[in-house]
């Protein structure tokens, strides 16, 4: 398995697609920074004009914490879409180039090969989110400095600077679990569909449907609480004024179980299917 993982790392590092994905995420970050730098103060002043007359806010509200929160919001659609495209390519490219057939003609077990793909997808996702978090921290704090965080989730919530930083760190961790779920799902879709373009369409559809179902009332309480579309925004709960840490922990644990379920299904199907 270690040899398979080493091969996967080499392939990932040698593919230009990997760097395009990282560059795309960096571009999203930079666009957020540029917009915030030139227009952020004006928008915040408009939103909080009345509140500023009654409350005192420490430092400027357009600060590193707010920028990090805005970057975190790219976990809704932009980042998972890029991740799903790249990670599904780990499988679809092997079908397209005929390398899957070549691999299966070697002394390699099918289940080990596909399991290595899942592990690599998780590893790549974690690395991308870690890089995203690190680069945002460095840039946001060095350009915009620290300060209290104001976010709007049903109502305006305010967090002291230190508390905000703490919550953002946990939100990145919880967001990573959601992103891992999308990556694992995209590998499973790739095993089913095989073709790159069709898998991208299916991945985008999966993402859209998941986001739509997130807000929909599914009628049955257990579905409303634990069906996977209801769990992908768990990181947002870290910005509720009253934080329910137990619910956040349980939601992430259930989402990890979904990841394992998707991976087990994909591995079983891949092992069963003919190659060619």
């Amino acid at each position: 398995m270690r040899a398979l993982l080493r091969a996967e790392v080499l392939k990932l590092l040698k593919q230009s697609k990997t760097y395009y994905a990282l560059a795309a995420i960096l571009v999203i970050e930079l666009l957020i920074f540029i917009t915030a730098y030139y227009q952020g103060s004006t928008i915040l002043d408009l939103l909080l004009d009345n509140l500023k007359q009654s409350f005192y806010f420490e430092g400027t509200l357009l600060n590193g914490n707010l920028i990090m929160y805005i970057v975190l919001n790219s976990l809704w659609f932009n980042v998972p879409l890029i991740l799903m495209i790249v990670t599904s390519g780990l499988v679809t490219d092997e079908y397209k180039d005929g390398t899957l057939q070549t691999v299966m003609l070697q002394a390699v077990k099918k289940w080990k090969f596909i399991l290595a793909k899942y592990i690599m997808a998780v590893f790549f996702t974690v690395v991308v989110i870690a890089l995203m978090m690190l680069s945002t921290f460095i840039l946001a704090y060095s350009i915009f400095g620290k300060g209290d965080l104001v976010v709007y989730i049903n109502t305006l919530n305010f967090f002291k600077s230190a508390d905000a930083f703490h919550r953002i760190c946990w939100a990145f961790a919880s967001g990573t679990v959601a992103m891992v779920f999308y990556s694992v799902a995209s590998i499973t879709l790739a095993i089913f569909i095989k073709d790159s373009a069709k898998t991208w369409i299916a991945a985008a559809l999966f993402l859209i449907i998941t986001n739509l179902l997130l807000k929909a009332d599914l009628g049955i309480p257990i579905f409303n609480n634990y069906f996977f579309p209801k769990l992908i925004d768990t990181w947002q709960q870290l910005f509720y004024f009253e934080t329910n840490w137990l619910t956040i922990g349980v939601n992430n644990a259930v989402l990890i179980l979904y990841c394992l379920g998707f991976a087990a299904t994909g591995t079983y199907l891949f092992n069963k299917k003919d190659i060619g």
Partner: protein
């Protein structure tokens, strides 16, 4: 020894293989001739374990970690990597030696240059075929299957690949099965031939015997063939540079002698055998 017994496979589009039995001994090169869509690739995939047959079984008498290696349809390579890295990856994932010396050794074995460091997407088709064979040979398989290895190669590439295949069978005692729809290429290097059509083996035999049994046309090239009196006694189709004579193989020596007596300088006499003839007239 590679054996496929009574193999059958049906897809939604129809029957791809129908009760096919095939045997290849160590050191033997077997050819599988058939039109496109005759069932060659399906048979190869079944022999390599990529797809499961509906009925029948594949037997490979081998204790090696990789009993069979091969290329099916085209060499599947990581085009963004160079030849060295391709071999490193495929050797590494199956625990075969992946050090520089071993990799260079296998590159030399298949006749690939050691100084090419660019991605294999820049390689010619012939070089890709060689790299595909190098990967297939990793971990010393006892059998090698090559699906359409000559497809798209120029004559020099074909000759060079034929030499490589012959030397692998002779020097390493590997059982080799290769397919083609091109008669001339496959007859150059195979000890034994199977002819497949519509998923069934319709003809088989030792290459020389099978070919001589079915040859009825000879292409003769020489001067003033159209005025030859000798040729008037045969069924002949005159081409721009040759005359296609329909006769039995045993009549050829006398025919050539007579042409020489007439003063016609014969420069070549080539037997012509088409795949259709092998399909239409099964061995007795």
């Amino acid at each position: 020894m590679l054996t496929g017994n009574n193999l059958s496979k049906t897809y939604a589009s129809g029957k791809a293989l129908d009760d096919v039995t095939i045997r290849i001994a160590p050191g033997q090169i077997c050819g599988l001739l058939g039109r496109n869509g005759a069932g060659k690739s399906t048979l190869f995939k079944i022999l390599c374990g990529l797809i499961k047959p509906d009925t029948g079984q594949v037997i490979i008498n081998s204790q090696r970690p990789k009993p069979i290696g091969g290329i099916i349809e085209r060499p599947g390579l990581y085009n963004y990597l160079n030849a060295y890295d391709n071999i490193r990856i495929f050797a590494g994932i199956q625990g075969a030696p992946a050090d520089a010396e071993s990799i260079n050794q296998i590159l030399v074995k298949v006749g690939l240059p050691l100084n090419r460091k660019d991605p294999v997407r820049n390689f010619s088709l012939g070089m890709k075929q060689r790299l595909g064979i190098a990967i297939a040979l990793l971990n010393n398989p006892e059998c090698l299957v090559l699906d359409e290895p000559f497809s798209g190669l120029d004559p020099i590439g074909v000759t060079s690949l034929v030499n490589l295949i012959v030397s692998l069978a002779a020097n390493e005692n590997i059982a080799i099965l290769l397919s083609s729809h091109l008669m001339s290429e496959i007859s150059k290097c195979c000890h034994y031939l199977y002819v497949i059509d519509q998923g069934r083996i319709v003809n088989s035999g030792v290459t020389n015997q099978l070919i001589s049994r079915h040859i009825h046309t000879f292409s003769i090239t020489g001067n003033h063939l159209s005025t030859s009196k000798t040729l008037q006694g045969y069924e002949v189709k005159y081409g721009i540079n040759d005359a296609k004579v329909i006769c039995h193989a045993q009549d050829i020596p006398a025919l050539l002698q007579n042409l020489l007596s007439e003063g016609i300088e014969v420069t070549a006499c080539t037997p012509e055998l088409t795949l259709e003839e092998l399909i239409k007239t099964p061995a007795v």
